[in-house]
């Protein structure tokens, strides 16, 4: 068989030839690390509730504390090791979002404070805000158009 017959056959050939990621192991690590991070969040949330904060504010406090911890770990050059081990387990929780802001900020410090840290801070996380905020505005406008609880489909 000639793998170079066409782009298509070459792509199939390469896919077969390239080693797969150890997906079971990765999923297992992602599961327990992700679960653990969110459970820590839940504990902080419960403490806030006990302290008398409302749900909205408790959720915000959880985010701020987790983001602060991640910024600290990233600054200590530790978070990339956690990320390498846990994959999506540390990427998907708010910790991944925080890390994706902190890491370019550190990386581009050499280009100065304004255009370096300030300008490049959102190179990875920017799209998350663009699409997240845009979607939320569309959701809000659609809600306004249908102007009723009937938008809640379920």
């Amino acid at each position: 068989m000639d793998p170079l017959e066409s782009k298509e056959t070459y792509k199939q050939y390469v896919d077969k030839k390239s080693p797969n990621s150890p997906i079971l192991k990765n999923c297992f690590n992602a599961f327990w690390v992700g679960g653990l991070i969110c459970s820590i969040g839940q504990i902080i949330f419960n403490i806030c509730k006990e302290r008398g904060f409302d749900t909205q504010m408790s959720g915000t406090i959880v985010s701020i504390i987790l983001i602060g911890i991640v910024a600290f770990l990233t600054g200590l050059n530790l978070f990339n090791k956690i990320g390498k081990f846990a994959g999506a387990g540390s990427l998907i929780p708010i910790t991944g979002f925080a890390n994706s802001i902190v890491s370019p900020a550190m990386e581009y410090k050499s280009e100065g404070h304004v255009m370096g840290i300030g300008g490049k801070m959102f190179t990875v996380a920017g799209p998350v805000l663009v699409f997240g905020i845009s979607t939320s505005i569309v959701v809000g406008i659609l809600y306004l158009i249908f102007n009723a609880q009937s938008i809640t489909l379920v």
Partner: protein, 130 residues
């Protein structure tokens, strides 16, 4: 104010939170390993999905069930944005669609910016050893 620690460590809540968030992360891991999507694209997918499910009112059920297990993952960030936009509309009409989302997520965004700047000030990136 006294804290009732048995409420804080209520194990059924924690278990539901652990399992739900774990499964959400597993979905992310499968996307990483089975597709060629970059981390940024995966984050975008999760936020957008969360915002859409939040807008449809579906994600609320997951939040009621799993608490932080549903709000801490980035889908929860999207849900929070959408929920904030809807509440903004209820309160202020059209302008609320623009202010509500970011207002609800303001704490997280501001914290990430501030702590990110702080970390960059005091720390330097190091080469990965492995």
């Amino acid at each position: 104010m006294d804290i009732d620690w048995s409420n804080v460590f209520e194990w059924t809540t924690l278990l539901k939170c652990f399992v739900t968030s774990g499964l959400i992360c597993v979905i992310g891991q499968i996307l990483i390993d089975k597709t060629k999507l970059t981390p940024a694209k995966i984050l975008v997918i999760f936020v957008t999905t969360g915002a859409i499910l939040g807008g449809l009112g579906i994600y609320q059920y997951l939040v009621d069930f799993a608490g932080s297990g549903a709000t801490v993952p980035l889908t929860g960030f999207g849900y929070n944005l959408a929920k904030g936009a809807i509440e903004g509309v209820q309160q202020y009409g059209l302008v609320g669609a623009f202010t509500g989302g970011v207002k609800a997520a303001a704490g997280g965004i501001a914290a990430a910016v501030f702590f990110g700047y702080l970390a960059a000030l005091i720390s330097k990136p190091k080469m990965k050893k492995q």
